[in-house]
């Protein structure tokens, strides 16, 4: 039984705890034990909070013993990308510059999970400051794909995808700025959602690119994604970019099926030189949906080719700005110097990894006086055009279906020497961030080498219900999502 336990969904586990089939404490202990056995080779966790988790589990068990409601996620083991501020629990953002920093507050999404009874097992590995697509910008420990330990899990929320893929948590939270939830979900064979910009509060999430960052869940089922989004989503007065709209019950409507839905397939996302296995898998998935009653049409998103360039102007500018605060004065690493300037240089020089430095330099350059109009401002205009492409498309279709990544998981070290090729790996996910739209990835098949391939579904603003409906229908029709990596059964 306990072997199956690690693959059960959050919805199932919450019901088991509620029905007293298992205590929250036992469920937590089983997961902690599994992490102790498996995570050494996987590197999903940067920090395991055994005492805290067991303490939270006891609170849930006591509530249930009193006959009280322990919350919609009562007893469910979850884990958080180390980008989320957790009160009393070290938060590094995957960087040496925050080594040992303990936040005095919980971010809003974290607080809402806790309030819903979820058990936070620990903090998850990631690319430093969420900058990366492979989790290789990770100074603390490497993170490996459970389907093939020689390969990357994707990034930047690598640890969040691995934890769910390897049964080390039921659901996890990540962030997605250019595809950092969707791409690792695709590479690790799990489901991942990037919500509409502003749907989930960014308060307490270490900022990378303020106009692009969004918090989202990983899960093994679309239903778990829906449950987690219900819990974490909604307006937050602490976040001025948070949307005031009410949070619907996302779990409703998951069984509606796709009959009558119009799905758009953009020409620009099926390019020459695309990995043939990825293309075949995604096209097969689309056929599956067509057979289930969806109407499939070709659309065009003509400004797609500008998306990566546009992103790397906007995101780096905002990142350079957001990372200015890491100066050794108030928190985190400080390397003393002869004077102030030296302290700044030594602290930031030692504390930041090469990719972070690269992006800070790019971003600083982009914002230089005299260049603002040519770069940042121009990129924002291109962004509006990309957004307009989608607005036009959503007049014709209800959702857009695409691959999530041009390739399956690549080997560790393969792209590290070529940052630009790493950047181009974001080609399918990045437009969605620029347009502020929601995107869901669900497992859609495997390569011959048994590496996962995901299907991406994009929707209009606040179109999560449609995405979840399509994803749930697909998971009803297929069993890709219940397959688990062999090495970690």
């Amino acid at each position: 039984m306990s072997g199956d336990l690690y693959w059960k969904s959050a919805v199932e586990l919450a019901a088991m705890v509620r029905d007293k089939q298992i205590s929250a404490r036992e469920l937590t202990q089983l997961h902690l034990a599994r992490i102790a056995v498996l995570d050494g080779q996987l590197g999903a966790y940067l920090l395991v909070d055994e005492a805290g988790a067991l303490g939270q589990a006891d609170v849930v068990d006591q509530a249930i013993a009193r006959g009280e409601d322990a919350g919609p996620m009562g007893g469910v083991p979850v884990a958080l990308k180390d980008l989320f501020c957790t009160r009393g629990l070290a938060t590094t953002a995957g960087s040496k510059i925050l080594e040992g920093w303990v936040p005095p507050y919980d971010g809003t999404a974290v607080a809402r999970l806790r309030q819903a009874g979820a058990i936070v097992l620990g903090k998850l590995n990631m690319d430093e400051f969420a900058m990366g697509s492979s989790n290789e910008n990770a100074p603390y420990r490497p993170c490996r794909n459970p389907w093939d330990l020689e390969r990357v899990p994707g990034g930047s929320s690598g640890g969040s995808a691995v934890a769910v893929a390897a049964g080390l948590a039921a659901t996890s939270l990540g962030t997605d700025t250019g595809g950092s939830i969707r791409q690792p979900a695709s590479l690790c064979g799990v489901s991942g959602l990037r919500p509409t910009y502003g749907r989930v509060s960014r308060y307490g999430v270490v900022a990378f690119a303020s106009s692009l960052d969004q918090v989202g869940p990983f899960g093994r089922t679309v239903e778990d994604i829906a449950l987690t989004l219900e819990v974490i989503g909604g307006h937050d007065p602490h976040d001025s970019t948070s949307i005031p709209s009410a949070v619907p019950r996302y779990r409703d409507g998951l069984t509606e099926g796709v009959a009558g839905l119009r799905l758009g397939i953009p020409d620009e996302y099926f390019i020459d030189g695309m990995d043939p296995e990825v293309e075949a898998t995604v096209r097969a998935a689309i056929d599956e949906l067509r057979r289930a009653g969806a109407e499939v049409k070709r659309i065009s998103l003509p400004h797609t080719k500008y998306a990566v360039g546009c992103y790397y102007l906007v995101a780096t500018a905002e990142a350079a700005s957001n990372l200015a605060r890491y100066d050794g004065v108030r928190y985190g690493l400080r390397v003393e110097g002869k004077n102030l300037a030296e302290m700044y240089a030594e602290t930031r020089g030692h504390g930041f990894g090469p990719e972070v430095k690269r992006r800070i330099m790019l971003g600083t350059y982009v914002l230089r006086s005299g260049y603002y109009d040519a770069y940042y401002k121009k990129a924002q205009k291109v962004r509006a055009l990309i957004r307009q492409d989608f607005t036009n498309a959503f007049k014709e279709v209800d959702a857009v279906v695409t691959p999530a990544s041009p390739t399956a998981a690549f080997k560790i070290g393969e792209k590290v020497a070529d940052p630009l090729s790493m950047y181009l790996a974001d080609i399918f996910t990045i437009s969605c961030n620029l347009a502020g739209l929601p995107g869901l990835v669900v497992p859609a098949g495997f390569t011959r080498a048994r590496l996962p391939i995901g299907l991406q579904i994009l929707g209009p603003p606040l179109g999560e219900p449609t995405l979840l409906r399509v994803g749930a229908a697909y998971q009803w029709l297929t069993d890709w999502h219940v397959q688990h990596p062999g090495g970690v059964a």
Binding site: H238, S321, Y331
Partner: protein
């Protein structure tokens, strides 16, 4: 060579809100270091700004009062530089879309007024290798008021500052205290030949922390630049710090001045939209402004300009005066009482006009008692002192202490005769031509009547009695 001086002033005014501009921490002055902080103030990872709308109300109020155009849609921008008192490594300010544009203060045109957050404070102890950072002030709301370079003398600059200070206090948006830093001033000063259209190279003066120094620092700078130019040299564009102790300024190291602030719109904050209804309400809520009230006092109450100025220095005083005149009717008489007796008493025990124990209507009543002869002017001063001390009304005090003026001619005449009879020598001197003796006899009659005799009658009757052979 006669040089024309061109001055522009950039002032920062701390807004008197309870909370900071982008977080709920208190703006209260003082407190243990770093006690008025929270994640946004400290610039902690993951913190986000949330606008305090009241600060915008105060800023718009100032904009309306100076006749500026209020932008219905403006933006916050990040201004980047590294310094320990700037927690985020950027200041949230406004750049190319400020809240207010145009307007004027003391006849000087304004370029703009924008909203921004204050930085914290660095404390350097002489001789110590350590600097301490206190972030209590970080995040406090400021408006930056930028004038056009219309000012042409150090006096004019000081007058501008005084007017600005009076205005922000008048509107209740700031306590405008230069010594405490709630009103700060940087001056841009340059010289050019009289009649020349182009501006000369300017120097920026900082660290001017009192009105006195506004004028002094600018005068020093004018002299410094004139000396350079007269000798055929060139003025260097630089920032200079005023040193109050030395009475001079010195240049900051130029490395510290090369700033590319890399402004861009803050993506954490939506555009600042100020609606018509809100502007209309703030406009309605504007009090009568100091200059308008001053003009009205001259026009309606017949005051001299100087007196009107003094009475409109503080709004509370102006309102007091206005109320007292409304209750009484004669501006000059009331002005006299307010400026002499009232202010002296308040000053003596360090009270503000708001703490004045004599209500304006009560003051008016006192003056009416003099008007109708119930008491003499001299007695009135005693009565006023008792009103101030006890809080009782004039009428009550006069009745209680029997201070009614004596106007009975017969009684006064009797007192006069008695005084003359008792002092034959002085009477002789008066009759011999020593007119000053009148004062002596008036004094005697006043003493005899407990000060209550009507002075005019005393004079008349003494005159008559003394003229009798």
């Amino acid at each position: 060579m006669t040089w024309e001086v061109v001055i522009g002033l950039e002032c920062h005014v701390q807004l008197g809100t309870l909370s900071k501009l982008f977080s709920p921490s208190p703006t209260e002055f003082g407190g243990a270091p770093n006690s008025h902080t929270d994640p946004p103030v400290l610039g902690l990872p993951g913190a986000l700004p949330v606008l305090n709308e009241r600060a915008i109300d105060l800023a718009v109020t100032l904009g309306l009062a100076v006749g500026a155009t209020i932008r219905r849609r403006s933006r916050f921008a990040r201004k980047h530089y590294f310094y320990p008192d700037l927690p985020k490594g950027y200041q949230i300010s406004q750049y190319d879309e400020p809240l207010c544009e145009g307007g004027q203060i003391a006849g000087v045109r304004l370029t703009r007024i924008h909203v921004e957050e204050d930085a914290g404070k660095n404390l350097h102890h002489a001789g110590s290798p350590i600097s301490l950072v206190d972030l209590n002030r970080a995040g406090v709301p400021l408006v930056e008021v930028v004038s056009e370079p219309d000012i042409r003398s150090a006096e004019e600059a000081a007058e501008y500052m005084r007017t600005l200070r009076q205005l922000v206090r008048w509107l209740g948006i700031s306590d405008g205290n230069m010594e405490e830093g709630s009103l700060r001033c940087d001056a841009n000063v340059s010289l050019r030949r009289v009649g020349e259209a182009a501006y000369g190279t300017r120097a920026e003066l900082k660290n001017i922390n009192s009105f006195k120094f506004v004028q002094k620092a600018i005068e020093f700078e004018i002299a410094r630049q004139a000396a350079i130019l007269d000798a055929g040299g060139k003025v260097v564009q630089e920032t200079r710090l005023w040193d109050a102790e030395r009475g001079s300024s010195h240049a900051m190291r130029s490395k510290e001045q090369a700033h590319d602030y890399r402004y861009f719109p803050d993506p954490d904050l939506p555009p600042l939209v100020v609606g018509e209804a809100r502007i209309a309400e703030l406009q309605r809520g504007l009090p009568e402004l100091p200059s308008a009230m001053r003009e009205r006092f001259v026009r309606q109450h017949g005051l001299f300009e100087a007196d009107a100025r003094g009475l409109t220095d503080e709004r509370a005083l102006a309102l007091y005066f206005d109320a007292a005149v409304r209750a009484h009717g004669d501006g000059k008489k009331i002005a006299n009482w307010v400026q002499s007796e009232l202010l002296r008493e308040l000053h003596r025990d360090g009270r503000t006009i708001d703490e004045c124990p004599v209500a304006p209507e009560r003051l008016a009543e006192l003056v009416r008692l003099i008007d109708d002869g119930t008491i003499s002017g001299k007695i009135a001063k005693e009565v006023f002192a008792k009103m101030y001390a006890s809080g009782d009304s004039a009428r009550v005090i006069v009745e209680r202490e029997g201070l009614l003026q004596v106007t009975d001619s017969a009684a006064i005449e009797a007192a006069c005769r008695a005084a003359v009879a008792a002092n034959p020598k002085q009477a002789q001197q008066f009759r011999a031509g020593k007119a000053a003796m009148m004062g002596f006899f008036v004094g005697q009659v006043m003493k005899a009547t407990g000060g209550k005799a009507n002075p005019q009658l005393v004079n008349e009757l003494l005159q008559r009695v003394l003229e009798e052979p």
